[in-house]
C-alpha cells in the first residue's frame, strides 16, 4: 500500500526585502550590502537580508535610550502583562512560527515546534518578573536601628546576537529577561535565517510594547562590531562559535560592558556496559543527528566503555542508517539539511579529513541524494570509526550530522577526556548504575550533564550551562542567572532619626 506523507504548506514562498524594527516601526535599513536567505532544503532564495551598518545599530540604541526611563518606571507587574499578551500571541501563531523555522533553518517540523515551545517558555518565565526581581532585606542588618536591603535595578540598553541553529529560541534566552527587568533591547538575529525573528517582532509589535523598548537590526560583522563598541549598550549576550564568542567577549568587555557569550562544543556520549542499548540508542541518535547535528548540545563523540563497544557501534550505525532525510516540512522526515551550501561543504570537508587521517566511515553521508530536493544542502548521517584523540574530527566542532566513535577501557578515561577538552558545554552518560552516574555528574567538567539523556538542555527556569571555551562570562542565559545579568544590585542602608 502506498504510504501517505504530509508536506505542510510554507507560510510564504518569499518574504521580500527585510526591514529593521526600530523605535516601534519597520524601517528600511541603510545597508548597501544585502544577503540572500535561502531555504536549505530547496536552495531557493526566500528573502533578502540587509547587512545593516553601524548607523542602524546606533538608531536602535538611541530608540532604546529614549524609551528606557519610562520603561524602567513602569511597574514590574505592568511590564509582565506585555509578556502575557505576547505569550498568547505566540500560542495563537505557534504552528506558523514553527513552519517558518523549518523553512528557513531546515530542521524538521517537530524540532521547530520544540524550539518555538522553548521560546514561549522563556516568555512565560519572564512574565513572573515581580517575583523573580525581588531584592532582599535584613532589619537591623547593619546595626541596631539600621536596616539594610538590596534592590535589583535595570541598567539601560542591552543587545543580543544570536546564531542560526535556533533562530527562535536563543534570542528568547535573553530579551524577555532583559526587558522584563526594565531594560531595553536590541536584537541582532542570524543573517542566515532571520525570518522567524521578523514574525516574532510583528507579534511583539502587536503585543504593544512601547516604541524603542525592543528593536531589531539585521546584519552581520559590522552590526556585531557596532554592538560591541557602542558606548550606550550596557551589556551584550551572544551565542555562536567559540572563535567569535571569544572576540565578542573581549571586544565588548574592553568597552566596560557586561558580557555573556556561549561558544562551541565537542560533547561526549559515554556508554557503560550496563546501559540498556535498545532504549538509549534512539536517544543517542536524536542527540547526534537532531537538527542535523547543528546544536551546541549535540553529542558528537560516542564513547563505548569496555564490552559496550561492539554492540553499541553496531546498533548505533544500524539506527543511523535508517534515518529518513528530507524537507523539514514533510512530517515523515527525520533529518533535514544543514543551513547553507558553505556549511555543507565544511561538514563534508571534515568527513574527508577524518578519512584522510585514518578514520573509517561505518556510515558515509557524503554524496547523499534526496529525491525532490536535489538542490538542498543535505549531509547524510555519518559514523566515523577508529577515531583517535589526535585527529581533527576528534578535536574540532563539526556542527553537522557526524559521529566520531571512540573506544575506552573505563569511565575514568572518558572523564579525563572530557576534562582535558578545551570545550565544556555538555556531556552525557548512559548507564544503569547510580554510582557511575553520580561519579560522572560530580567529576565531569561540562556545563550541562545528561544522565541517560543525550540533549541536556536546561529549561527556561534553569541557567543554560557551559564551561571552558564553551562559555565566556559569569552569568548564564535563562533562570536566575539572567535576572542577575540584566540587573545591578544596589544596597540601601537606612537609619530613621
Amino acid at each position: 500500500m502506498a504510504q501517505k506523507t504530509t508536506l505542510l504548506p510554507e507560510v510564504k514562498k518569499h518574504y521580500g526585502d527585510l526591514k529593521n524594527f526600530i523605535g516601534g516601526a519597520w524601517v528600511e535599513s541603510s545597508a548597501s550590502e544585502w544577503l540572500d536567505d535561502t531555504n536549505p532544503a530547496t536552495g531557493e532564495v526566500i528573502a533578502r537580508v540587509p547587512l545593516s551598518p553601524r548607523a542602524d545599530v546606533d538608531a536602535a540604541v538611541r530608540a532604546g535610550l529614549d524609551a528606557w526611563e519610562e520603561w524602567r518606571e513602569t511597574p514590574p507587574l505592568s511590564r509582565a502583562r506585555y509578556f502575557f499578551t505576547l505569550r498568547d500571541l505566540m500560542e495563537q501563531h505557534f504552528e506558523e512560527l514553527a513552519r517558518i523555522v523549518s523553512q528557513d533553518h531546515g530542521k524538521i517540523i517537530d524540532e521547530a515546534r520544540g524550539e518555538v515551545r522553548r521560546a514561549i517558555e522563556n516568555v512565560e518565565v519572564a512574565a513572573g518578573i515581580p517575583s523573580l526581581m525581588m531584592g532582599y532585606n535584613l532589619e537591623d542588618g547593619a546595626a541596631a536601628g539600621i536596616d539594610e536591603e538590596v534592590l535589583y535595578q535595570p541598567l539601560g540598553v542591552f543587545a543580543g546576537i544570536s546564531p542560526f541553529n535556533f533562530p527562535a529560541m536563543v534570542q528568547s534566552w535573553f530579551w524577555p529577561y532583559a526587558v522584563a527587568t526594565g531594560n531595553c533591547w536590541v536584537a541582532k538575529p542570524s543573517e542566515q535565517d532571520p525570518l522567524v525573528q521578523v514574525r516574532l517582532f510583528e507579534l511583539i509589535e502587536m503585543a504593544g510594547f512601547p516604541p524603542g523598548v525592543v528593536s531589531m537590526v539585521h546584519g552581520a560583522k559590522e552590526a556585531v562590531e557596532a554592538v560591541c563598541d557602542h558606548p550606550d549598550i550596557r551589556g551584550v549576550s551572544f551565542v555562536g562559535s567559540t572563535q567569535i564568542a571569544k572576540l565578542v567577549y573581549a571586544r565588548a568587555a574592553s568597552h566596560g560592558k557586561r558580557v555573556q557569550c556561549g561558544g562551541g562544543a565537542k560533547n561526549l556520549l559515554v556508554v557503560l556496559p550496563d546501559a540498556k542499548l535498545d532504549t538509549i540508542v534512539p536517544n543517542m541518535i536524536s542527540s547526534v543527528y537532531g537538527t542535523a547535528g547543528e546544536r551546541c548540545l549535540a553529542g558528537s563523540v560516542i564513547v563505548g566503555i569496555g564490552e559496550a563497544q561492539g554492540p553499541l557501534k553496531a546498533k548505533f550505525t544500524a539506527h543511523a542508517s535508517k534515518l529518513k532525510l528530507g524537507y523539514g516540512l514533510d512530517e515523515s522526515t527525520q533529518m533535514g539539511p544543514v543551513i547553507s551550501r558553505k556549511h555543507q561543504e565544511r561538514v563534508l570537508g571534515y568527513i574527508d579529513k577524518g578519512e584522510d587521517e585514518g578514520a573509517k566511515p561505518l556510515l558515509d553521508g557524503r554524496g547523499v541524494k534526496v529525491p525532490g530536493y536535489e538542490h538542498g544542502y543535505f549531509v547524510g548521517p555519518t559514523v566515523l570509526d577508529g577515531v583517535t584523540p589526535d585527529m581533527t574530527v576528534a578535536k574540532e566542532e563539526i556542527f553537522g550530522p557526524v559521529a566520531s566513535v571512540f573506544e575506552m577501557d573505563d569511565l575514568d578515561e572518558a572523564i579525563a577526556w572530557i576534562n582535558r577538552s578545551p570545550y565544556g558545554n555538555a556531556a552525557s552518560i548512559y548507564t544503569s548504575s547510580g554510582k557511575a552516574a553520580r561519579d560522572f555528574r560530580y567529576r565531569a567538567r561540562a556545563g550541562s550533564i545528561g544522565i541517560n539523556l543525550g540533549i541536556a538542555a536546561a529549561m527556561a527556569y534553569f541557567p543554560f550551562g557551559g564551561m571552558k571555551n564553551s562559555f565566556f562570562g559569569d552569568l548564564h542565559p535563562q533562570g536566575r542567572d539572567a535576572i542577575r545579568f540584566f540587573t545591578e544590585s544596589k544596597v540601601v542602608i537606612t537609619r530613621w532619626v
Partner: protein
C-alpha cells in the same frame, strides 16, 4: 474508501494522523445523527461526535507541548494497520463502520502508546487513555450491533 496508509516515523507524523483520525471520526458521527434517528441512537451519535472533537483538541495541544529533549525517531509502526474509512455510511452499515473506526483507533493508540512510552511519556499516557476510551466505545457499539 480507506485512507492511504500513513508513514509514522516521527512524533509529528503520529500526531498528524491522530488528529486527522479524530476529525474524521467526529465528522462521521456527525453525519450519522440523522441516519441513526430511526433507531433512537442519535444521542449516542451526537455524544461520540462531541467526544472525538474534544479528543481532536486534546491532540492539538499535545502536539504543541513537545519537548525536543525527548524527540526520537519512532520505528516499528505499520501504517497499513490503521487505514480507515471515514465516509458516511448507509443506514444498515453505520454501526459497523463506527465500530471499525473505534477498533482502528483503539489499535492505533495502544500501539503508539507503547512505541512512545520510553521517550514521550506524556504523549504515551494521552494515547493510552484515548485507546482505552475507543475500546469502551467499541464495546458499546458491539453491544448495539448484537441487539
Amino acid at each position: 474508501m480507506s485512507t492511504a496508509a500513513p508513514e509514522l516515523a516521527t512524533f509529528g507524523s503520529i500526531l498528524r494522523f491522530a488528529i486527522e483520525l479524530e476529525a474524521a471520526t467526529s465528522a462521521f458521527y456527525g453525519s450519522a445523527v440523522d441516519v441513526l434517528k430511526k433507531d433512537g441512537l442519535e444521542a449516542l451519535a451526537r455524544e461520540l461526535s462531541a467526544q472525538h472533537a474534544s479528543r481532536h483538541r486534546l491532540l492539538e495541544r499535545t502536539r504543541q507541548r513537545v519537548n525536543e529533549m525527548v524527540l526520537e525517531p519512532i520505528g516499528g509502526l505499520d501504517g497499513s494497520r490503521y487505514a480507515f474509512d471515514p465516509t458516511p455510511a448507509p443506514g444498515d452499515a453505520v454501526l459497523a463502520r463506527a465500530l471499525a473506526l473505534e477498533e482502528i483507533a483503539g489499535r492505533f493508540y495502544a500501539e503508539t502508546s507503547a512505541a512512545a512510552r520510553q521517550a514521550l511519556v506524556e504523549a504515551s499516557r494521552t494515547f493510552r487513555k484515548l485507546g482505552e476510551e475507543s475500546a469502551r466505545n467499541a464495546g458499546r457499539l458491539r453491544g448495539l450491533s448484537e441487539i
